[in-house]
Amino acid sequence: MRLEPVANPTLLRQLGLPALALCATVLVAMALALLAGADPFAVLGQILTGALGSRLAVLETLNRATPLIFTGLAVAVAFRAKLWNIGAEAQLYAGAIIAVLLGTGAMGAPFVLPVSAVVALLAGAMLLLVPVLLKVRLGVDEVVTTLLLNFIMALFVSYLLEGPLKDPMGMGWPKSPALIPEARLPRIVDGLRLHWGFALALIAAGIVWLIQTRTTLGFEMRAVGANIRAARFAGMPVNAVLVKTALLSGGLAALAGWSEVAGAKGHLSLDLSPGFGYTGIIVAMLALLHPLGVVVTALFVAGVFVGADAMSRAAGVPTYIADMLLAVALLFMVLAIALTRVRVVRG
């Protein structure tokens, strides 16, 4: 058995296989519901209602997708240049820290939002720069350094929140003071959580797409990723390209944290991110590293989670089913996407 590329996949193939993946996920959901003693036939409806069934549901899905778009972009940019940035989680927190540092009174309107965004971007960039310089100069594997930095950053945030950044009015709970109103991203819809961070994420996706397809830097980043030797031979400044990639990637991941603090939360706590940095990897790869695809897959991942989570309550099954279904949907989906471009043949 082997795989053979399909030169021009038919529309049926391109749409049918992902649809099949979704159906398979629903079947798994039904089986799990049955196992948990719930009504398997209500499951699909409950997931859909949970993710899209009301204005609240839709906005919550968009809201949860927002940081995923940023981290997904961060990963897509880095992976395209074969820079294995597993540290988006840490960079996210770097951005969040900056949002607090500059947003709690250090600066007022109208500068605080743009300035803190830019500084957050730089902070995330710097955080990724270290592993990248280590890789470029000493050949230290960046998968490991970026991964380890996640733990170090988590502990650093914990230190900040129990030390210098602790909210004096927080009754001892480890969290930062609240941002001043001028430092908050306004909401798009009054009363609901969706904020302008979502719009910024969409804009960021557009910009990244333009960078990758239209600019010389994008060309260089793709070339370095696809064949670093050829890129070097052709005279591309490979190390500089890697550094720039790191800056862009780390910066985007930091914006995820910045927008969560400035937009959604208004303060920083230890659990700001339930793994957005890691999920960003999933989002990016599902999108085949395409910046615009990242938007779609982030919405998909957020929708499956929100929908399945709501379903767990409606059906009365353990909430962990949401993560299970997200994982199942993800694995089926990557398989389906892969199979649109190759077919299994004997020989």
Partner: protein, 316 residues
């Protein structure tokens, strides 16, 4: 501070703690090492450790003997390994995504199953875990004896496992084939050995070992299953494989070093230093030192050439 550190370092109990803390890491690191040596990065490790911790414990809770629990953990890990292997080897899907997906799936499956099995329990039930077994004679050696030879059987097994992995890798045809699969799969295929077979097999066995590492937490280090109890240990093992330059011996050394820092920071927190230095700094110690160690030995590491490179027959 130097005095305090030295005092800690010369105590037998410190070294006993190091071996205990290192044991689950050694199992899981060997598992990851096998996978990577065959060319497959297995980011499913964190979740596979969770499922191992759960399945091993559940089996014993339901009446199996302790070693039976270990076997069940291995089986459960191998099963998720099979999933990972099938998706990334013949289908060549992204090892990053599938790995993270497997971690998510395995973790959620363990939690879901636990909640279904024990819906009413609020204090996790206990089993009788492995007890320390003092090796006759050897455990009487002063200092060394109580440190090295008064451990639970699963700790001895961890070190034995590393030995077996090293032997298989370097001394048997199977190990040779496995290394070749990670270096140049085409070379293996050209010699008539199925790359897919070797890689899937390696991922299954490796995942089984990761799960056994997880089960150490519930069958030896502790006696109940807790959510989130694996607590990032799997990710550490990914780092340990690189730290160990993909060699079993060095990886074990890395695990011991990491465990050493961990045991040290626990003890340092109770010295006068602990009153002034934020505890997070202590907790950071093992990670920071890992990075420094990586930098120190960066030039020499030899990455398996075909790591993360999917292999499909008849393509170049």
């Amino acid at each position: 501070m130097g005095g305090a550190v030295i005092e800690i370092l010369i105590s037998a109990s410190f070294w006993a703690a190091v071996l205990r803390i290192a044991s689950p890491l050694i199992f899981a690191t060997m598992g990851e090492l096998i996978c990577e040596r065959a060319g497959v990065l297995n980011l499913g490790i964190e979740g596979i450790m969770v499922i191992g911790a759960f399945a091993g414990w559940m089996a014993v809770y339901l009446g199996l003997p302790l070693w039976g629990g270990v076997a069940v953990a291995f089986g459960a890990g191998a099963l998720f390994g099979l999933l990972h292997g099938v998706l990334v080897v013949p289908f060549g899907l992204s090892q990053h995504v599938v790995g993270l997906g497997v971690t998510l799936l395995a973790t959620a499956t363990a939690y879901f199953a636990y909640r279904l099995a024990l819906p009413e329990v609020t204090t996790p039930p206990k089993i009788t875990p492995f007890q320390a077994w003092e090796v006759p004679v050897l455990s009487d050696i002063p200092l060394l004896g109580p440190a090295l030879f008064a451990q639970t059987p699963l700790t001895y097994a961890a070190f034995a496992c590393a030995g077996v992995v090293a032997f298989v890798l370097y001394r048997t045809p199977l190990g040779l084939a496995l290394r070749a699969a990670g270096e140049n799969p085409a070379a293996l295929e050209a010699q008539g050995v199925s790359v897919s077979g070797i890689r899937i097999g390696a991922v299954m066995v490796g995942s089984g070992l990761m799960a056994v590492g997880g089960s150490f937490l519930t069958l030896s280090a502790f006696s109940s299953f807790f959510f989130e109890m694996v607590n990032g240990r799997g990710w550490i093992c990914i780092a340990l494989v690189v730290f160990g330059a993909w060699r079993p011996g060095k990886a074990v050394l890395g695990a011991l070093l990491f465990a050493g820092f961990d045991a040290l920071q626990i003890r340092l927190q109770q010295t006068p230093l602990g009153a002034v230095v934020p505890y997070q700094l202590f907790l950071m110690l093992p990670y920071v030192l890992s990075i420094l160690a990586l930098i120190a030995m960066s030039r020499r590491a030899q990455v398996p050439a075909a790591l993360m490179v999917p292999y499909t027959k008849g393509e170049r």
